[in-house]
């Protein structure tokens, strides 16, 4: 019996594992200086869905029709054909718009949040989900993707969608209008959905400027007059109007899950608008910390393997097994 050898080998392995672990625990990723994004202010949104239409046009996606009903786009949720959606929520209960009673409702725009520390990027085995180091735009490369749908699992906002009804389906999600063949941001343009928004409910800009603007708006009271930007934070086009509702003192996306590059303001609790409550530490940071603790530099596995091989060699020496 070589019990002592076994314990020795196991002990060495454990030791290496612990030392590797302390070296690689990781915090949330930092936000890049030039990160771009959007600010959606639900108090300004009139639910016209111009953004949804423009988004479909840019991404060449068909309307979602309901058989037997009048033929217009009936999309109610994000899908592989609908990369952004306007939903109406009962501001008091977070329930469906159809069940509105007291008239306190709010629209909500959903699309990829372009997380600062994106789960989809962290889990993708083949780097098909990528975060641009400068703009922070999270893009998807269908030529690399194997369709495992781990990104779908790991996105806290249920954003990436797979085309289940196609033999050669792919993952679809908002890429901030900067995907191959579109490249609006790289060409100095702004996203389609902000460009067409008639009320300035959705504006484009750098995350830094948008965050500053969001903080300014939080100071406002219902009934104050304020000069809102249209389309983008640095646009010459603005309009002055009264503030429609008291802002909730919360900028969604400032801290949630490590922060997002799409920020949301609303007059009703934002978690009632189809957005989840998230801890400040990103899930990606948790997952990568555990993963790197176990496999950091493959030092621990290599150490354990050496122990295992040593034991296997001793115990199989002489070809046949001693019994």
């Amino acid at each position: 019996m070589k019990r002592r050898d076994f314990l020795k080998a196991a002990g060495t392995g454990a030791l290496i594992a612990t030392s590797a672990g302390t070296a690689s625990a990781r915090d949330n990723l930092p936000v890049s200086e030039e990160a771009v994004g959007m600010l959606y202010d639900a108090t300004l949104c009139i639910g016209c869905r111009a953004c949804v239409v423009k988004c479909k046009e840019i991404n060449e996606m068909p309307p979602e029709l309901v058989e037997g009903a009048e033929q217009w786009d009936m999309a109610e949720e994000l899908s592989a054909d609908t990369l952004t959606i306007i939903q109406a929520y009962n501001g008091a209960t977070g329930g469906n718009a159809a069940r509105l009673e007291d008239g306190t409702f709010s629209f909500s725009k959903r699309q990829c949040m372009h997380c600062v520390d994106a789960g989809c990027v962290s889990v993708c085995p083949v780097k098909a989900m990528k975060k641009d180091p400068k703009t922070g735009i999270v893009s998807h490369d269908p030529d690399a993707c194997i369709g495992c749908r781990y990104c779908v699992m790991a996105c806290p906002y249920n954003v990436p969608k797979y085309e289940y009804d196609e033999a050669f389906g792919q993952i679809q999600k908002c890429q901030l209008c900067n995907q191959k063949g579109v490249e609006r941001i790289d060409q100095g343009q702004i996203t389609g959905c902000t460009e067409v928004c008639p009320t300035g409910a959705n504006i484009f800009g750098t995350r830094k400027e948008l965050l500053a603007e969001a903080k300014r708006r939080l100071q406002l009271k219902k009934g104050d007059t304020y000069r809102y930007q249209l389309s983008s934070i640095d646009s010459p086009h603005t309009y002055e109007t009264q503030v429609k509702a008291d802002y909730q003192q919360h900028i969604f996306g400032e801290k949630e899950g490590g922060g997002t590059q799409v920020l949301v303001l609303a007059g009703t609790p934002i978690t009632n608008l189809g957005l989840p409550e998230l801890p400040e530490r990103s899930y990606a940071a948790n997952s990568e910390t555990v993963q790197h603790t176990l496999y950091g530099g493959m030092i621990a596995p290599a150490g354990i393997l050496a122990g295992l091989i040593y034991l296997a060699r001793r115990n199989t020496k002489g070809g046949d097994h001693d019994e």
């Binding site: 070589k2 993708c124 098909a128 797979y162």
Partner: protein, 380 residues
């Protein structure tokens, strides 16, 4: 080593075998439909439930059931308990089937399977991804299993040169054969960490996830060895191997005690244990799961019960169900993506999963009659 094993002298084509082949035929048709019309044509997968029974049962639970070869390699070659050697080959054969089918199901479920090779291109690899670790490890381990099982083939077809080469490197193969499954079985648990709040807190432990997956996988490995050995004994009226199996029962006790301490300690520390008694689906599933883990512990704690073939079998089956339910719960029942999505597997999804079990059974039955896999009767 070679004369420890023998072929089973029975006809290969029997009535059950033909029935299994029928199920396999249905599976083949479903596969054709999936590849021609896409995943949506045969599955109920949707935007909220990206992974269904094919991933959860065929891959995650299936490889859990296929840990017998790994468990025995640990006992025989690492802890040097040679007396278990006769059980090694049948366990390796079952593992080989479980893993190759697991890898194949992962491929079938891959939305863009024709690009699967990207996982093996160094410049495409994302080393932060748990999925990458699982994918590479499972592939490597399946190859290792082929090599570990190769002696059975080489014994039958007398290839001394190859056998010699294999023997020379066997210790490396064995080392990898213990390390690789340990790595990816624990990673199967880690896979959930990134999903955060979408997994119910009863199954979402941030740092212990890999350990739970690992312990339950090893316990399932020993259980499946007990299960298979008992079935073969009963099915082909061969001498009982209880004298060997009871030792494995004892190892399981240690594993289960460790598991309970960690699992409940974690739930208590996080203050989530109360959810177990909420009376809802998830709470109740947790209780059933816990009961299934508790049964083998109670049975195997007594040395007397441990020596009874029937009791050992009950314990093993209960533990296999427990391990399977733990995985099904964590990946499917405890999954709440929000947005009103629901999922229940389609008939075709279930038929394919059943078909894969049929392939394993039919393949196992055929191979033990074709190659020297089962322990020699005089020795046992």
């Amino acid at each position: 080593m070679s004369n420890q094993y023998q072929r089973l002298d029975h006809k290969i084509v029997t009535l059950p075998f033909v029935f299994l082949c029928l199920l396999i035929g249905i599976t083949a048709l479903i596969l054709v439909e999936r590849f021609v019309f896409g995943l949506g044509a045969v599955t109920n997968l949707n935007d909220g439930y990206p992974w269904g029974v094919w991933v959860v049962y065929d891959v995650i639970i299936g490889t859990g059931f296929a840990t017998g070869g790994w468990a025995l390699a640990m006992v025989v070659y690492i802890a040097n308990k040679g007396k278990y050697h006769p059980l090694v080959r049948p366990a390796l054969l079952a593992s080989l089937f479980g893993y190759s089918l697991g890898a194949f199901s992962a491929f079938v479920d891959m939305g863009r399977y024709w690009q699967a090779y990207n996982m093996f291109l160094p410049w495409q690899m994302n080393f932060n991804s748990v999925m990458l670790e699982v994918g590479l490890c499972v592939t490597a381990y399946t190859i290792i299993l082929v090599l570990e099982f190769a002696p059975a083939f080489l014994d039958r077809f007398k290839a001394p040169r190859l056998k010699e080469l294999l023997d020379r490197w066997l210790f490396v193969i064995l080392g990898l054969g213990v390390l690789l499954p340990a790595m990816h079985q624990s990673s199967l648990g880690s896979m959930l960490i990134a999903a955060g709040h979408k997994v119910d807190p009863l199954w979402q432990s941030v740092s212990l996830q890999p350990l739970f997956a690992l312990i339950t996988a090893i316990a399932m490995g020993f259980s499946i060895v007990i299960f298979e050995a008992s079935l073969v004994t009963a099915g082909y009226r061969r001498p009982s191997e209880t004298h060997l199996l009871k030792g494995l029962g004892k190892i399981i006790v240690y594993l289960l005690v460790g598991y309970f301490v960690l699992r409940f300690g974690d739930l208590l520390l996080r203050g989530e244990l109360g959810r177990a008694f909420a009376g809802d689906l998830r709470g109740n599933m947790f209780l059933i799961e816990t009961l299934l883990f508790l049964t083998p512990l109670v049975i195997l704690l007594s040395p007397k019960r441990r020596s009874s073939g029937a009791q050992l079998m009950i314990a093993a089956v209960s533990l296999l169900l427990a391990g399977a339910l733990f995985r099904a719960n964590a990946f499917m029942i405890a999954w709440h993506p929000g947005g009103g999505y629901v999922y229940f597997p389609s008939t075709k999804e279930l038929l394919l999963s059943i078909g894969f079990i049929a392939i394993e059974l039919a393949g196992y039955l055929a191979i033990v009659k074709w190659l020297p896999v089962l322990p020699k009767v005089e020795h046992a």
